[in-house]
Symmetry: C2
Subunit: 365 residues, 2 copies
DNA sequence: GCGCGAATGGAAATCCTTTTCACGAGGCCG
DNA sequence: CGGCCTCGTGAAAAGGATTTCCATTCGCGC
C-alpha cells in the first residue's frame, strides 16, 4: 500500500498531515498540539482524520528543541535495585506519567564521576527536571562540577529537587532523618536498653551523617555513653550489615541492641546473627530505617522507622512541577513513623541489672 | 560577569563556541562531535578551549532531530518495585550507560492501556530502542495498537527487543520458562512428592502460560495427575501467593508441595503458611521461580529457579545495539539453574506411603 | 455603503546541530 | 609547469514542530 502523502518511508510529519488535510502546517499544529488559536470545526476534523490516517505521532525532539525542554525527568538513585530507591522512583513515575513526562533512571552506584556523567547527559537531553533520590556524597570534585551543571540548568528553567540532604543543604522534599533515628533509638532506650550499638552508612553520605547524629542525640539525651567501639560505619547494603554486626558482636562490648542506619544493613545483621546462633530479640535487639517492602517479612519482623517512600517520590515530582510553572514552593517535610515488630524487645535480665537497682528488680520479679 | 559571547541567558550553543573560537559552526561541530573529518590541531585546541570556557553541553535534542534518533532506550516493566524487574532494569542500565544511552523506565502495572501510552511516548521521543522486560499480556486491543507502533518504529530503524514471550512469539533474548518450571517440578518429584499443587500467575500473561505448561509437562512426564482443584491462578504478587496457598490448603487435596510461578507468590505463600502454623518444608514444600534477591533470606530459604536477571538485561541491550547497527542477531537463550534451599524436602512418611511399597519402606527405615 | 473587529488560515522565522557541497591552498607526479 | 589530489575550512540546507506576524473574509453597527 503506502500512502502517497507520506514524504518517505519514515514516520509521517505534521507537514504530511497538513498536506493530506489540505491545510498549512501551522493549522495542523494548532489542532494537534491543543493550541488556543481558533480553528473551525470542519478544519479541525479534517486534520484529525488525516493524523489518524497517517498514524501521526508528533516528534517530541522537534517540539523540545523549540521549547528548550524535553518532557523527561531524570532521577538519580544510588541503585535502582535497592527497594528504597525503587519505591521512590515508582512514586515519581506515577506522578510524572500523569503529566506526560517520562522518567529516566540513573544508578550512580555512589560513584561521583558516574553521577556527574549522568547529570551531564540529562542536561544535554534538556531534561525538564532532575530529582536526586539518593543522598549527596561529600566529594569536592563532584560538588564543584555538580554545582556548575545544576545552576546552569536552573538558570535555563529546569527544576532541581533533592529528596535527601546534599551539599546544597537539607532536602527540598524529605523526611527528618535526625529525628527519625533519634525516635527509634529513644524507643530502644524506653525498652530498657543502655548499651546500644550503631551500624552506620558510609561516612561521605550526608544522610548517613544525619542519621548518626540522631543516634548520638538520643543517646546523649538519655545520658548514655557512645562508645567509639560500638559505632561502626560500613557500606549501605546487606553485606555491610552482616559484617558489621559480626564485628560489633566480636568486640564484645556487651551491647544489647544495635540500631542500623537503614533496613538493608539491618537485614544483613539479622542474617548474620541467625548464622551465628545469636537469637533476636532475646540476645540482641535490631532496628532498621526506611521500612522497605520486605522489612516486615523477616523472621522476626524488623522494627524500623517507616518512611512514606512512594509519597516522597510523588511529592518530589510535584515540587518539580511547581518549580517548572514558576512558583516557589515551600520545603516539604514528610512524616515518619516508628514501627515496632519482633526484632526488638526489652534486654535480658542480666543486662537490666546493670542499669536498674538490683534489689528492686529482683524483688519485683 | 556573563560572557559576551553568550547569545542569551540560556545555555551556550555551538554557534557561541564557534564565535569565541573564531571558526565556523561546522568546524566547531567537527571537533566537538568527534567527527572523522580532519581538523588542524591548532583549530581543534581553540574550539576545545572555547567549549570549556563556555561550559558547552551539546543539545541532544537538536542532534537527535537530525539523526532521527535520541540516545535513549525505553524499558517496559510491570512494576519497577518488583525486584525481578529492577534487576533486569539495572542490567540494561549498565549496558546502556557504557554506550551513552539513557534508560527510561515505564511501569505498566500490567494495564494494556498504560503500556500503549508509554510506547507512544517513547515513539514520540524517537527512542533508539524499546525493551519489553515484562511478559506480554494477551489483549486484542493492545496487541493491535502495539503491533502498529512497533512495526512503525522498526521501519524507522529503532530496535524492539522482548525479554519475555509476547504476542510476537518467544523472547528474542530470554530463558526457557517451560523447561525451568519443568526442571524444578521434576526435582520435587524426585524428592518423592506426588501431589504437587501449582500457584500460577494471571491467565493473560504469556510467561505465566509458559510456566504452567512446564508444570503440566513435568507432571505428565512423571505420570502424575494434575487435579484442577490444585492448580490456581492468581495475581503475580505476594498477596496473591498468600491467598493462593490458603485456598489450596483449605481445599485439602492433600498436596505435599506447591510450585509457585514466581518468587513473589512463593514469598506470600511462605508468609501465610507460617501464619497458619503449617511448617515448611515438614508439612509442605514450596518452590519459587526467578531467584530474586531476598529469596535466599526467607526462613527457610526458598528453593527456586535461578535466572540470571541482570545478565538478561545486559544481553537484551546488547541485542538492541546489534539491531541498531544493522546486524541481525540470533535469538539468545540464557541458562537457568534449579537451586534447592530449605523450603523443600521429601514429603512426610504418610505421603510417601501412598506412592511407595509400604512394606519396603517400612523395612528400610 | 463604509469601516472595524473577530475569526480563520498561511508564510516564515526559530530552536541547534550535523552534513553535504564547494572552495582555496598547497603538495606531488608526470 | 600543469593537473590532480588532499587537507582544512566555510556556507548552507535539513530535520519537525511551534509561533509570531500578516492577510483575508465575514458580520455587523452606524
Amino acid at each position: 500500500m503506502g500512502n502517497l502523502f507520506l514524504t518517505g518511508r519514515g514516520m509521517a510529519s505534521i507537514i504530511d498531515v497538513a498536506r493530506l488535510a489540505g491545510v498549512s502546517p501551522a493549522t495542523a499544529s494548532r489542532v494537534l498540539s491543543g493550541s488556543p488559536h481558533a480553528v473551525s470545526a470542519s478544519t479541525r476534523q479534517q486534520v484529525e482524520a488525516a493524523a489518524e490516517e497517517l498514524d501521526f505521532v508528533p516528534n517530541a525532539l522537534a517540539r523540545g528543541l523549540l521549547k528548550r525542554r524535553a518532557p523527561i525527568v531524570g532521577v538519580i538513585v544510588h541503585d535502582i535495585t535497592d527497594p528504597y530507591f525503587s519505591e521512590i522512583a515508582r512514586g515519581i513515575e506515577d506522578a510524572a506519567e500523569a503529566s506526560g513526562h517520562l522518567v529516566i533512571i540513573c544508578s550512580s552506584d555512589r560513584v561521583p564521576q558516574r553521577e556527574e556523567s549522568y547529570v551531564r547527559l540529562l542536561r544535554s537531553m534538556q531534561a525538564a527536571a532532575i530529582l536526586f533520590a539518593g543522598s549527596g556524597i561529600r566529594d569536592a570534585g563532584l560538588e564543584e562540577a555538580a554545582a556548575r551543571h545544576l545552576s546552569a540548568m536552573e538558570r535555563s528553567g529546569a527544576a532541581i529537587v533533592h529528596l535527601s540532604p546534599s551539599f546544597r543543604g537539607p532536602a527540598l522534599v524529605g523526611v527528618d532523618n535526625v529525628a527519625g533515628m533519634a525516635a527509634i533509638v529513644r524507643s530502644l532506650v524506653g525498652m530498657g536498653h543502655r548499651r546500644i550499638g550503631y551500624l552506620g552508612g558510609p561516612e561521605r553520605l550526608y544522610v548517613a551523617a544525619d542519621r548518626e547524629r540522631g543516634y548520638r542525640d538520643a543517646m546523649n539525651e538519655a545520658g548514655l555513653a557512645v562508645d567509639t567501639a560500638t559505632v561502626l560505619r560500613t557500606t549501605f547494603d546487606v553485606a555491610g550489615g552482616a559484617d558489621g554486626v559480626e564485628r560489633l558482636i566480636r568486640a564484645d562490648a556487651g551491647v544489647t541492641a544495635v540500631a542500623c542506619a537503614n533496613d538493608l544493613l539491618a537485614l544483613g545483621a539479622l542474617d548474620r546473627l541467625t548464622e551465628l546462633g545469636v537469637s533476636v530479640p532475646t540476645a540482641i535487639s535490631v532496628t532498621g530505617f526506611d521500612d522497605i517492602p520486605g522489612a516486615a517479612r523477616t523472621a522476626p519482623g524488623l522494627s524500623t522507622v517507616h518512611l512514606p517512600l512512594r509519597d516522597l517520590g510523588r511529592a518530589g515530582f510535584q515540587h518539580a512541577e511547581k518549580l517548572l510553572s514558576g512558583r516557589r514552593p515551600h520545603r516539604r517535610e514528610l512524616p515518619f513513623d516508628v514501627v515496632l515488630r519482633g526484632s526488638t524487645a526489652a534486654p535480658r535480665r542480666a543486662s537490666r541489672l546493670e542499669i536498674t537497682a538490683p534489689a528492686a528488680l529482683a524483688g519485683a520479679r
